[in-house]
């Protein structure tokens, strides 16, 4: 796999702490940093996806913007979730009305 390099300057205290963690976990400093970075990037992306999807559901952004950010497949699923949630809300209201 082709890799890209990212150079990061660390404060000496943080560097010391990372070295300590790497010693405790018996893994090289770089491997530990790479796995932490990967986890955090995934988490951030998930949070942003969720935010954008919710904005679409609230009617604040267009479907084409949603597709731009999430891709067509995820955007379709978000649309389906919105449809089913709307249906659930409406059905509860209508059934309650009928039973009155």
């Amino acid at each position: 796999m082709q890799t890209k390099q990212l150079n990061v300057k660390l404060m000496p205290e943080l560097n010391k702490e990372i070295e300590m963690v790497s010693k405790i976990l018996h893994i090289p400093k770089v491997d530990w940093a790479r796995s932490v970075l990967a986890r955090q990037v995934k988490k951030e992306l998930e949070e942003h996806k969720s935010f954008v999807a919710l904005e679409y559901m609230k009617g604040k952004i267009s479907r084409s913007d949603l597709i731009k950010f999430l891709g067509k497949r995820d955007a379709e699923e978000v649309g389906y979730i919105k449809k089913k949630t709307d249906e659930s809300y409406k059905a509860a209201k209508e059934m309650a009305k009928k039973l009155k």
Partner: protein, 170 residues
């Protein structure tokens, strides 16, 4: 006030179990599930976490009526049996939270398949719980799941809190 017949799959049973409101739900709904859902709940109840405890509580309190299906209607999946049971009993609504299965199973029935938030909205609409209790029940269904699944909760919450006008326009 009459009771409404509904069928639940395992995902819906667990979501609603998280709210701790089954005793109230029983007041307005007759809750049916196939035996496969009971088996899935028994399996979940063996785990020693929050969800396992919820599954044990549901099974011990006999909130649900479990039905044994005929051989040709049985399946290895609780959600498939739930749809088969709903077709057999001709209930009003099928409740499940598994979006992927829902999409596939909609082709196998004419009965509406709705999310478990429908049950909580109904409790509020039929004046069994307050608006505040409804909001808190929806929040309690939020679990550590994928972002798309948690969207159900976030958007359900929005509809319940702010979206009344918006939905009326749909």
């Amino acid at each position: 006030m009459g009771t409404t017949q509904i069928v639940l799959d395992t995902s819906a049973v667990i979501s609603l179990g998280c709210t701790g409101k089954f005793h109230l739900i029983k007041r307005i709904f007759d809750l049916h599930s196939p035996m496969k859902v009971k088996e899935e709940l028994e399996e979940i109840s063996k785990t020693d976490d929050k969800i396992g405890k919820i599954a044990r509580g549901i099974l011990n309190n006999a909130y649900l009526i479990f039905h044994d299906l005929e051989k040709n209607r049985k399946s290895t999946k609780g959600e498939v049996e739930a749809v088969n049971l709903a077709n057999e009993l001709k209930v009003e609504v099928i409740v499940m939270d598994d979006i992927k299965s829902m999409k596939k199973l909609e082709k196998k029935t004419n009965i509406p398949i709705l999310l478990s938030s429908f049950v909580i909205y109904s409790l509020f609409e039929r004046k069994i719980i307050s608006h505040k209790e409804g909001l808190s029940a929806i929040q309690s269904m939020k679990a550590k799941r994928q972002w798309k699944e948690n969207l159900i909760i976030e958007y359900s919450n929005f509809l319940f809190e702010d979206g009344k006008k918006m939905i009326e326009e749909i």
